[in-house]
Symmetry: D2
């Protein structure tokens, strides 16, 4: 009810603030007998970690995921999996002097209106730090998707007005932005560095692609797969737009052009982005998300304090110039979580021929 839980069968509940003891998540509904160990989280947590690249803040977050429950002898038991990531290097003094000031573009103002009592240190609950818990949950979701071959990958197609023109997914890991176009990646790096030098920030667009997703996932009306994916993606702080398949371009196509013809070998095009009537059709699922520039900039800004008095604000300290690429594994995680949830929901609908034999075991 308070909006800290996502999913209906495979549910993910996060907790924690950026400058409290740590960030955590309860993953509930994971089937028993799934192999899971602390090391499984290392790769994805590292991708979300800041400080590896020149345009990023050199903060150090170790982000080791501790499994607090739900795993026994290396296998999940079907009971809640609690994961905890302790906070470190959490110096909250820089925030003390801003405790009564609403930072533009941040949640300070609206949180204050809602709660009155707000943990202002580093954004508190509104901090991007919270997404560490989502990435951890995404690793568990991946354990459900892997056996059926479903893969989720997120790459950058635009940053600081630089657009990728060529797409060689194999090359994306060589780019600091997970950009599949090496030339564009270099220009993106320049744009990010330039923004950083100016104390400013930039935004961009990422694309998430799901391969080998079974047909039949999604519910018909409100929990359409594209509706839940839109919510999943838009629930990540910096995202201000989301589209599926042809997306906003579909609004400019004639029906005869936008409809994907069906052939005995599959769909002849994929404007639908792999989803028809809210239900996956077996084709690739394609999602794009608009990522706004990071609001923490060191250029002076106009704002007010809690008493409504005008204030000139200059945010010091180290901040990333762009939420990309750190947001990419977060979006991947949210899509994985959404698909794992819908996959398990789908399991119930299927009329099992094997029900009786299962019950007799």
């Amino acid at each position: 009810m308070a909006g800290n839980t996502f999913g209906k069968v495979f549910t993910v509940t996060t907790f924690g603030e950026s400058h409290g003891p740590g960030i955590g998540v309860i993953v509930d509904g994971c089937p028993p007998g799934t192999a899971l160990k602390s090391e499984d989280f290392v790769h994805d947590m590292a991708r979300r970690r800041p400080g590896k690249r020149s345009f990023e803040s050199p903060r150090k977050e170790e982000d080791r995921v501790e499994i607090l429950s739900g795993v026994f002898e290396g296998l999940t038991t079907g009971t809640p999996i609690a994961l905890f990531i302790r906070n470190r290097d959490a110096d909250s003094r820089p925030y003390e002097k801003m405790r009564n000031i609403f930072r533009p573009g941040h949640a300070d103002y609206s949180y204050f209106k809602r709660y009155g009592h707000v943990d202002f240190r580093g954004g508190g609950r509104a901090s991007a730090r919270e997404t560490a818990a989502r990435v951890a949950a995404g690793v568990v979701a991946d354990k459900i998707l892997s056996p059926i071959g479903t893969k989720v990958v997120c790459y950058t197609i635009e940053l600081g007005c630089v657009r990728a023109e060529h797409f060689d997914i194999a090359l994306m890991d060589e780019s600091p932005f997970y950009c599949p176009d090496p030339d564009a990646s270099r220009l993106m790096e320049e744009a990010a560095q330039k923004a950083r030098n100016q104390g400013d920030s930039i935004g961009g667009i990422v694309e998430i692609r799901v391969t080998s997703c079974p047909a039949g996932l999604g519910e018909p009306v409100f929990d359409k797969l594209e509706a839940d994916l839109a919510k999943a993606v838009m629930s990540v702080g910096a995202v201000k737009g989301v589209e599926i398949g042809a997306g906003f371009e579909a609004a400019r196509l004639a029906g005869s052009k936008n409809n994907d013809p069906i052939t005995p070998d599959g769909f002849a095009s994929n404007n639908a982005g792999g989803i028809l009537g809210g239900i996956s059709n077996g084709d690739e699922i394609i999602i794009r998300a608009a990522v706004k520039p990071i609001p923490s900039i060191s250029i002076e800004q106009d704002t007010i304090d809690r008493n409504g008095n005008p204030v000139k604000l200059t945010i010091t300290g180290r901040h990333d110039a762009t939420a990309i690429p750190r947001i990419n594994p977060v979006l991947e995680a949210m899509v994985r979580i959404t698909l794992a949830d819908h996959y398990l929901r789908y399991m119930q609908v299927v009329r099992l021929k094997t029900e009786e034999s299962m019950l007799s075991t």
Copy 2:
């Protein structure tokens, strides 16, 4: 769980198929003592009704909303409000010959993959007919928003590649597309008529604007107001993209430009679209939705039947050339429902100074 319910406190559950007895909705969580009568639904149901305009199919749907429960002596009682709209003019014979054929761009293929047994008549549960129930629920949601002055309005800003250039909201009701630019509206009408003559269809972009929404609505993490709005909008069949405030354009702005400065008189700009950190900030909420062209066209298309054999399909019968403007009141309704739900959720969070006095009544 099966995706037919939207909302957590103010909940809306729809049921019904396009060619069954009718379409209905249970609205639960509406506070007691709210005036509600059958006539309240007439205006909005009429706006969703087809057949008034040259580019639309001349089907006749009366769409009278019957209140089955939850209202006594003209006031809601706090118990579930069941609304029912009987289907009429439901000739399913045209669909009989297509019962084994998957119509491109429709939900036929994916529904079949999910359910096996599908009501193929006019899309069944996937039909736009289902949205009649949403519009009815939106009328109830409006009863919650009206007393606090919150208004939701939806207008067309692009159709068939024609963009509105001037915005005079007062003029939108004179346009058959609820377009606030009379010149653009005329060109849109031509585009729609041309598509209709060719047996083709067109799409467009609509904008939804919420005025006088209190600050503080929305939950911090997964149920961010923009996440729930994105889901609400994307759950409407033809929508393939959604953006908030500057949306995809925000991805191209520097942080210093995208951040909305705060002044003692309010926000100096509104790139955030009225939502910061997932919580409303009191400014106008701005949402845009990409509406794809209607998939039912009379131009011959390639597809397959249930056995996987290739088929040439020509859809006969009368169909709208565009989902706009009939989709507009549906999107309005979904936004109203989302806001009513979050408003009631917000009510609990607010630390009531008046608790004791309330309890003593």
Copy 3:
């Protein structure tokens, strides 16, 4: 949220008041391909119907169940099944004179405290009439349990201080109270008739037994099978107590006596009532419910009106002398619904070896 929905995967949402247009229910989550037709409801609705027996009120309720959605060509489609039962013979004039008076033992007082605006006619939403919708939903639940052989039966073991001493389930249908002891049944009939003649009412105890329930149903912590069954049973108006297996007697047994030994052929006793640690163990599930006497009596009672003034109240009109046996099919329905829900929830937990083959269909 407003408490009109039961279940998590197989969900049942009722609506309607005793003197409104009718009573209905949305059954969601029923798997597609299940045979369902209007006639399937006749038997159970008839059992809940009043007026067949001398100690009951001669009101006539036809209770024909109309299927409004979710069924196509005789099979469920996996979309919401809406069922509606129109009210008849709903003379609300007798209630007019009591509109400001709180009837003792009824919900009038507490509803008024909660809602302020209350449909007082015949109890409105609090009327036992609402249970007609539950019985209809129970028929759908039974469609899920039948294929796996699970049967639910409810019989009376005590009424008006008369206890059944012999149990021949085969004879229960010959008793007007579904009492499996013919001698006790005759004494119960006398007790009911006597109470009726005195303008008074009596209560009793019913037992619900579930045979061939698979082992493994139920969740470990809050949604223990016995917890959900307790809620299901206690949610029926007249029930004031519930116990599982040995129940309150278990509190008087030593552990060495209460523990059910396990043998290669099954459990040697069944004090657990078929549930261990909240999860079914494959043995018979045994539930008992205490049913209070009906509060509508024609003996004069002390009460107050809405202004707090003392009133002498004599309720006229025809009323049953006991909620038994009409409550029995309602309790059966609630247990069926609970089990159908947990059976579908169980389906997801089971680690399917057949996953891949299912997906390839």
Copy 4:
């Protein structure tokens, strides 16, 4: 969905196993601005702790509650409150030799049927250890109830067939069983000691009483206050029966006797146990729970192993002779949680005259 969450607005999600790293709980939906600190948990955690009394096992559990999130500068922020209690003294070796054996009366058999892969150490997730998290959550619930004066107290009225005859609540804290009758308490102590000496165990009945609960809490149909209380109480491992007010005795009363007359000064009796039509009526809420004897006994028992072979089982190690009185604070906690949830749900229903003023702040 997986049954680890209780409540709809004030939600409690527990995680953890008896021999894992620890036990925890996420309390979500607690209003912001509530004072909460680690010391607040000490008193209730101590009451649940074993080893203080002669008839209990001398295990040492420190049960210090660590606040991981949701509290800032001593006040709740409205975001999830995560509480964690690290496990200590968790020697799992005694369980190793029983890993393939189903202990009678325990969840071993049914868990194995459900999950296949089970953490057998000390009951794992099914251990009473899980209730430590519930007690911690109950402390937070109490913070919501205290300001409105609502108090929950749980005392023992029967143990090992000894019934309390006199009720002086003031004396209950002097009894090791929270029994309000000192003479009965002494006999209970003898009964417990005797059972312990024999390697056996005993059960009993506890009563929970809620004073100063506002009228109007509870939902009308499925989420009746008594239904949710029944579920809350029955979700505690050892409980096999629950009754409200007169409970099973109500089944033996005439309506004229069972109905509570209403006077200008309140109800003249309280057979209803403070709840009418599922909604609190302002009178004391009275709940009784039947607690079965602890299944872990050192007397030899018949059972089977995972392969179905018969086994003679003698459980060694130290175990309590009765779940009472350690279960009492757990039941108190569950009732507090249920009431806090319903109190916050009630807040939404109330038609606030002060809405506008609240919004303008």
